[in-house]
Structure formats: structure tokens, C-alpha cells
């Protein structure tokens, strides 16, 4: 159980979640301290939990199937990572490691399932909230791409690196790492 007051840490959930829901969620979230340099998750590992950053800063590296690394924007407090993995566990595509001593709130699939059994209404609201957030991120990413295509009529002047960084920006937008 976390003692962290979740409401200010997770502003994006406010719309759907009431104080009582946050209080219930607290029971199913574990605070975990991550030392500087330590990884919360490594690419390729099964991710059967979601977490959000309570304090600190994390480096995020996207890893290809061949093991190549691409550094994305760092993430700070309030960001959910692996938002839906407690619904459908999967292997992580990113390695997330602490850039400084940090604290995360972690909800495992098991904890989510328990919350669903004991407090289904709260679990529903959490899912709804996270779904809306995910959907909004996709919408924003789609707009980024569409605007780009619509207005730029890209002529390739920015080269391969520029293009990769552009897509990395979209990836960050989709996955909530940016901002």
C-alpha cells in the first residue's frame, strides 16, 4: 500500500475518479524506491504491471528486436508507463532506468485483479480513465503525423536522423513520455 496522496500525482485521472477511488487505489499500489541507474523494466522483460512516477526522473530507451538502442525523452512525475499492461501483459519495448534516486507507484496485474474483485466500480473508473488517456495520446500522435504530412509534404531535407527523431517524438507522445 502506498501512503502517497494519488490525486495530485495523477491529475489526468481526476475527471473520472473520486476521492474514495483514489483511497481505494492506494491499497493496491506499492511504492517502490528506485536507485539512480537502476532499471524498473528492461526491454524484452514481461511487463505485467503498470507504474507511475511519484518522484524523480527516468531515462527511456527504445530497443529494437536486434538490440539497437534509441534514447527517448526522459519522463518525470505523474507519467504512467505501461498503462494497460495489467490488462494484457506483454514484453516491454523500452528500458526505463532512474536518472536520479526516484520513487514509483506500481500496480501489478495481480493487484489490479484483486481490486476488480473487491472494488469493481473503482477498477472500472480506472480503466475508463486510462483508456481515455491512451486514446487521447493516440489522437495527439495522429494529429502530429497528419499535420506533418499535410503541411510539410516532406522533401527529405532533414535527412534520416531528423526523420528518426520526428518519429521518436510521436512515439513519446503516444506513450506519455513527453512533456
Amino acid at each position: 500500500m502506498t501512503n502517497t496522496d494519488l490525486k495530485p500525482v495523477l491529475p489526468s485521472l481526476h475527471e473520472e475518479m473520486g476521492n474514495i477511488d483514489f483511497a481505494i487505489m492506494q491499497q493496491f499500489i506499492e511504492d517502490t524506491t528506485i536507485a539512480r541507474g537502476e532499471a524498473v523494466i528492461n526491454a524484452g522483460d514481461e511487463m505485467n504491471f503498470a507504474f507511475f512516477i511519484i518522484k524523480g526522473k527516468f531515462a527511456i530507451h527504445l530497443i529494437s528486436d536486434a538490440g539497437e538502442k534509441f534514447e527517448l525523452s526522459p519522463a518525470g512525475p505523474g507519467k504512467w508507463i505501461g498503462q494497460m499492461f495489467f490488462l494484457e501483459p506483454d514484453n516491454s519495448s523500452v528500458t526505463v532506468s532512474a536518472l536520479e534516486d526516484s520513487i514509483i507507484g506500481r500496480m501489478s496485474k495481480d493487484a489490479f485483479d484483486k481490486m476488480s474483485s473487491s472494488y469493481p466500480a473503482t477498477a472500472d473508473k480506472l480503466l475508463q480513465s486510462l483508456s481515455i488517456e491512451l486514446s487521447n495520446r493516440m489522437r495527439k500522435a495522429g494529429k502530429l503525423l497528419f499535420k506533418r504530412f499535410a503541411w510539410d509534404q516532406v522533401d527529405g531535407a532533414e535527412g534520416e536522423d531528423g526523420a528518426k527523431h520526428w518519429f521518436a517524438k510521436v512515439y513519446c507522445e503516444m506513450n506519455g513520455f513527453s512533456g
Binding site: L62, S64, A66, E68, F70, Q83, M84, L87, E88, D90, S93, P120, D124, L127, Q128, L130, S131, I132, L134, S135, N136, R137, M138, R139, A141, G142, K143, L145, F146, R148, F149, A150, W151, V154, D155, G156, E158, G159, E160, G162, A163, K164, W166, F167, A168, V170, Y171, M174, N175
Partner: protein
């Protein structure tokens, strides 16, 4: 009312039992529409989810400074669209229009809310369907972008306007950048 057998054959509703499908079938309104009817309009908010029973629906998006209309998908029977409208009333990112005569089953948000009261199990199941769909779409898009980042032709992908378009639409199993939150069909990718 459309027969329960029809709903049973919709993969997006797998997991609901006969009784639950019966309740859902009782609440959904079945309507016929003429060619050109607009179910969802890009830039407008919506509050209704649709399941196509007969006919085809064209999904288009307005593109570019010249505001050209581009078809990005064509849907057929048993495909659902506008599902996210049941939980989110933000502006829609594509237009869905009848191509010829169509028959659809409709479920609006107030009926969905009523369903939450009447049968929280069904509403929960639908909520999970929506969440899973969004999650899968998100994963699919993310992996596509990741592949582009690690490919040797990211700049080509940027040039190819038809190749990479994220919308709230389902483009079908054989197309790059298929799908997203609005749509789910019987043959969509599992991941």
C-alpha cells in the same frame, strides 16, 4: 431486434453469454440508413457506438491544406465503430459514411449508462472490450513507429503520405497502420 445469433457471431462481443447478449440486443436500436448517411463526422463529438449488420461504411479523413477527403478504410458487417464514444465525447478523428444502404445496431452513451445500472456485468464487459481495443491499437501503433525508427528508411516513411496515418480508424488486417480506438472488426489483429 437483431437475432442473438448475429451478436454471438461478432468476435468483439466474445465472452458475453446468451442472456447478456439478449439484454444487449434488446437495448441496441437497429436502424436502416440510405447511401451517404453520416454516422460520425470528423471534428464533431459523438455519443453513439455502431455495429454494422448489413452493407458498407466508408471511413474518410480530411487531408491537407486543400482539405481533400481521403478514404482510409471500408468496413463491412460485424465491424464496430464509434465504440470509444461510449466513454469519451471528444472530437472524432474520421468521418464514417454509408456506402449504399446499410443496417446498423446502435448503442448510445445514455443507454450504455442505463446498462451500467441494469447489468453492470455487461457494461463491465463492454468497458473491458473498449479498454483492450485501445490497448491493442496503442501497442500496434507503437510497434509500427518503433519499426520505422529502427529502419533505414524513416525519411522515406515521412515522405510516404499513404503509409503512416494514425487515425481513430480500423483499416483492416492487411494494411499498415490499421486500426485504432474507434473501430474493431472480426478479423483485427490480436496485438
Amino acid at each position: 431486434m437483431t437475432s442473438i445469433e448475429f451478436y454471438k457471431s461478432v468476435s468483439g462481443l466474445a465472452g458475453l453469454n446468451d442472456e447478456q447478449l439478449g439484454i444487449l440486443a434488446g437495448l441496441a436500436k437497429v436502424n436502416d440508413y440510405e447511401d451517404g448517411h453520416i454516422f460520425i463526422e470528423e471534428g464533431h463529438s459523438g455519443d453513439t457506438a455502431f455495429m454494422l449488420i448489413e452493407g458498407e461504411v466508408s471511413v474518410t479523413r480530411i487531408k491537407g491544406a486543400e482539405a481533400r477527403v481521403k478514404e482510409i478504410n471500408r468496413m463491412g458487417p460485424k465491424e464496430m465503430f464509434g465504440v470509444i464514444s461510449l466513454i469519451d465525447n471528444r472530437e472524432r478523428t474520421a468521418t464514417c459514411r454509408a456506402k449504399g444502404k446499410v443496417k446498423v445496431a446502435e448503442l448510445d452513451r445514455s443507454t450504455f449508462d442505463q446498462l451500467r445500472e441494469q447489468s453492470s456485468d455487461i457494461a463491465r464487459h463492454i468497458q473491458r472490450i473498449i479498454s483492450r481495443q485501445i490497448s491493442r491499437d496503442h501497442k500496434f501503433f507503437s510497434n509500427e513507429i518503433r519499426d520505422v525508427i529502427f529502419s533505414n528508411n524513416a525519411s522515406d516513411a515521412l515522405k510516404n503520405q499513404d503509409g503512416l496515418i494514425i487515425t481513430d480508424t480500423y483499416k483492416g488486417p492487411d494494411r499498415r497502420f490499421a486500426s485504432s480506438a474507434e473501430f474493431s472488426g472480426p478479423d483485427r489483429r490480436a496485438n
